[in-house]
Symmetry: C2
Subunit: 224 residues, 2 copies
């Protein structure tokens, strides 16, 4: 029970940015949510841009470390399909589930990343490119080894769609609930992870030279 104003400011900033975007949230909004004074923000962070930078610095490293850790485990699986599934899971899970100590939560931070990415926030862009591209590349490499014959182009695009699906699941979960008439709960992150992993598995798997979707189609076309 001592979240030290500084922590409270950071945490509330993530939540507010994730919910409304960067420019729609004022420093006074953040201060009010954290039950603190506006001045405390300039004192601790200097500027709004720097507050954002500190948020990224706090979450990026732990999240990617966890990803690399899980990727390392996944790579030891010999069966290529099982390995592919585990690799995809290693990429997705740390973005959805908050890691042990780092409060704020992986999902809220990821959602904030999604929103700032959509806004093309220039402060965020540089950090993201530096910190996340390397990790993404490592995952694409690992996935490539599971899907022999897959084109580099296909792999990169599918990794883009994977991240887009991940982001949108966090940004707009209400749509899932609405479209299903309430039968599916879009806020259920466990379910979202499971569905995204399976969908991405199929998406990557179809790049394989022999058992791709196109091949499937041609086969079925001929029998029809």
């Amino acid at each position: 029970m001592r979240p030290s104003i500084r922590e409270a400011l950071l945490k509330n900033a993530v939540t507010l940015f994730a919910g409304r975007g960067y420019h729609a949230v004022s420093l006074r909004d953040i201060a009010k949510a954290a039950e603190a004074n506006v001045g405390s923000l300039t004192y601790h962070f200097g500027s709004k841009a720097n507050l954002l930078k500190e948020i990224y610095e706090r979450h990026t490293q732990p999240m990617n470390a966890r990803r690399r850790e899980l990727l390392g485990e996944a790579r030891r699986i010999s069966n290529p399909d099982e390995r592919l599934m585990a690799i995809i899971r290693a990429y997705i899970v740390p973005a959805f589930i908050s890691s042990s100590e780092s409060d704020g939560g992986g999902a809220e931070f990821t959602r904030m990343r999604a929103v700032l990415s959509a806004e093309g926030n220039p402060d965020a862009q540089a950090i993201i490119a530096d910190a996340f591209d390397e990790t993404s590349r490592a995952f694409i490499e690992a996935i490539a080894e599971c899907v022999p014959g897959a084109s580099r182009e296909g792999l990169v695009w599918r990794s883009q769609f994977l991240l887009g699906g991940l982001y949108y699941a966090l940004i707009n979960p209400e749509r899932v609930s609405r479209l299903s008439g309430g039968a599916v709960n879009g806020e259920d992150r466990e379910a979202a992870v499971g569905q995204l992993v399976e969908a991405s598995y199929a998406s990557f798997r179809s790049l394989a030279a022999d058992t791709g979707a196109a091949a499937d189609m041609i086969k079925q076309e001929k029998t029809a």
Copy 2:
């Protein structure tokens, strides 16, 4: 050569909102981009919120009409796999490619939708839910008929991932170029459409009761 200030304002507003988000763009930014005066915005649209509303009203109906038209054509295909592919394409293409007359372009409008959706813009939310949910539902129904045995949950989640992938392809194409080391051009919309259609096809197809990814995996597990 007569884009009538009103048209220029609308068009530039879409571009700017799509690039930076709603709150980051001021009415003066829009006026300057359209080489017009600030006052012309209040004259033509009354308020910033209403400007947004008019943008949606202009693009939503034509885009969804085109989607329904293509969906109708796709449904006439008898082979379920070919039909599935055509249905997915019918959903994606109008969002990427600008329809004939409605200037502004489908892609720019879609990108704007993506950004405002990420920002949770309340003005946009109501319009989106009303205008697009019905169309999405129709597509999910049509897809369901192509994939016997697919769970409703799986279909809805995959439609969510499809839309997320679509949005993210428009929001952050630079990432594709970067991750591929320049080998793939993220701005190439033709390629993006093709890749997204194929990936989504595999994603939906894997929901089929017999040839799903899970079944594939179990099979491979046993032989390994």
